[in-house]
Homo-oligomer: 344 residues x 2
């Protein structure tokens, strides 16, 4: 076998509990108990052992612990698209939230094309305690089931109502309605909608709520384009398409990165003024949305609350396989900026 990571040259083996126990003259069980909160061990013995451990730089081997407790304290985080700036922010907050309750994050970056089950096989072999799926797209229902069966699982920003699975999701209906209402108040009447991936639940919820609401308000849907992905480039292409075919005076993009691409296309490629000629709104409130050139009106996804709910479910065990699954909708908030100013 090739050398490479893990070959043993140069690595000093760390000291074990048994060795430490022998040095102190206690049993190995005692050492284990000293490191187990709530274990039945005399306070002084624990102190003594911890002191020696410190001196000898002993740390319990987590791998051995995993094996005997059949619990890893590892959460698998399944992601597919870090190019949408919304995800890095979420992942960062999430992994920090998990760290706070003693859970580590094992990152699974799935890519289109290659065999996804193969990419996720480590999820099962490593016996992660829980799976958090952030990639709204990419995973079919079957793969999702396969990847999460028999273990705690939470989907973020993807909803599967029928299947027995936990979902934590921004309130897309609330958000899409808020955008529609906002367009209406601004006097916009010919609106268009741009989706990222039309079949995703995130999109369906936003799209249906938006279209329903504009109909209620007596506005016209002048165009609907599917970008094919949630990206800056897709937003540009979609905006061009809408500008070419429709006379929309407002566009709601399914998320911010699409909207930002859209604004650039409208201004740079088509020569439209945003917002004077056409209002643009997005969804998420990524950092770039507040950059002055875009000043994008958007519906904020409450990252902190989402993370709090997810971490809470992991902490209280309510996402365990035995438990009834739930769909948690987290309320967001409309952020009005310049991209939806008055007609000019």
């Amino acid at each position: 076998m090739a050398r490479g990571v893990g070959s043993s040259d140069g690595k000093r083996r760390p000291i074990t509990a048994r060795e430490l126990a022998r040095m102190i003259g206690v049993s190995q069980s005692a050492v284990s108990r000293a490191f187990t909160p709530g274990a039945s061990i005399a306070a002084e013995l624990r102190q003594k052992i911890l002191k020696f451990a410190e001196e000898q730089d002993y740390h319990p081997n987590a791998i051995a612990s995993m094996l005997s407790k059949s619990r890893t304290n590892i959460v698998g985080i399944v992601v597919s698209d870090m190019s949408n700036p919304f995800y890095p922010a979420l992942i960062q907050k999430l992994s920090q939230g998990l760290q706070r309750i003693g859970l580590q994050s094992l990152l699974f970056n799935i890519t289109k094309g290659s065999n996804i089950e193969e990419q996720l096989s480590a999820l099962r072999r490593y016996n992660v305690d829980a799976v958090i799926v952030i990639s709204a797209t990419m995973l079919s229902g079957a793969t999702l089931h396969w990847a999460t069966e028999g273990r705690a699982a939470i989907l973020i920003n993807r909803v599967v109502e029928d299947a027995d699975i936990n979902c934590v999701c921004c309130d897309n209906v609330e958000g899409a309605r808020a955008i529609a209402d906002h367009f209406h108040e601004l006097g916009r009447r010919r609106v268009a909608y741009v989706s990222g991936l039309s079949h995703t639940t995130t999109n369906l919820e936003r799209q249906n709520a938006f279209i329903t609401r504009i109909a209620e308000l007596g506005m016209t849907l002048t165009g609907r384009v599917d970008g094919g992905e949630y990206s800056y480039e897709a937003g540009r292409r979609a905006a061009l398409e809408i500008a070419a075919k429709n006379n929309a005076d407002a566009i709601f993009f399914a998320n911010d990165i699409l909207a930002i691409g859209g604004i650039d296309a409208l201004r740079e490629d088509v020569g439209k003024r945003v917002p004077e000629d056409i209002s643009v709104a997005g969804f998420d409130d990524i950092p770039m949305a507040s950059w002055p050139h875009y000043a994008l009106t958007t519906f904020r996804q409450p990252l902190d609350e989402i993370v709090t709910v997810v971490v809470g479910m992991l902490e209280d065990g309510s996402c365990q396989p035995g438990q009834p699954s739930s769909v948690r909708r987290i309320s967001g908030g409309l952020i009005v900026r310049h991209s939806t100013g008055p007609l000019g």
Copy 2:
């Protein structure tokens, strides 16, 4: 103990090698060998076992394997700042590169303020095979040594020449000189420099090379500001400071996200034209650098090559503790865009 992730309710225990072996009527060793590439086992036996395994949905338990091989196939990735869009892109490519050679990524998101060694303690307890440190900042030399001692380690974009540690880094000197040369060709003569964190090696290299080069070229350094962090907001603040005090006709920002903030401040807050009044260049080539409003001239960090080199070092074992450490400089490339157009 509280319920929570890992409590056993509802989880079916997966089948073990011993159970599978009994079903087939072979030894447990045989099952293990069937799953070990290169193990001495008859081809037919292996096929038979793999077939049964498939049927019974048996997968070797990676935790047990880790314990007996004392090798985890896990790489700890230490990150501190995912808000700079350069890092998500790097992490994504890196984790995919690692996955390709069978390594999983355990993410460590360290945060200012709290105890870093505590946050990194899992790095040791989990016995990761290797540590990749991406956070240029945050880690003191001592912490770095503590976190990586005795195991394979690679620093990305941070260089510690004296310590015995592996570094993979974009050629900052090449990049900073290229920017200086480019400013000079454009006829700019009064240049300023903005750092993110002045004490980081990344900054020192870029700054020193830049300042040295402009001196060689007979240009004047009219200002130097430290942003205090690599962020959009810091870039804005720094640009304002420079605009207020100096009459610079070009600014080199230590990275793109600073430069983008700088452009916005110059245009929105100070009313300067970029590039007609002042040229702006950055470093990294993040996606936003190519957005038309910024069209930022920058020095591209070759992400793919960096990842290739890192993965290669992990694969061939050259980053093992026993091996001599090395500093690998990866060559980048100047990307000229509109932000450094001719004087207007």
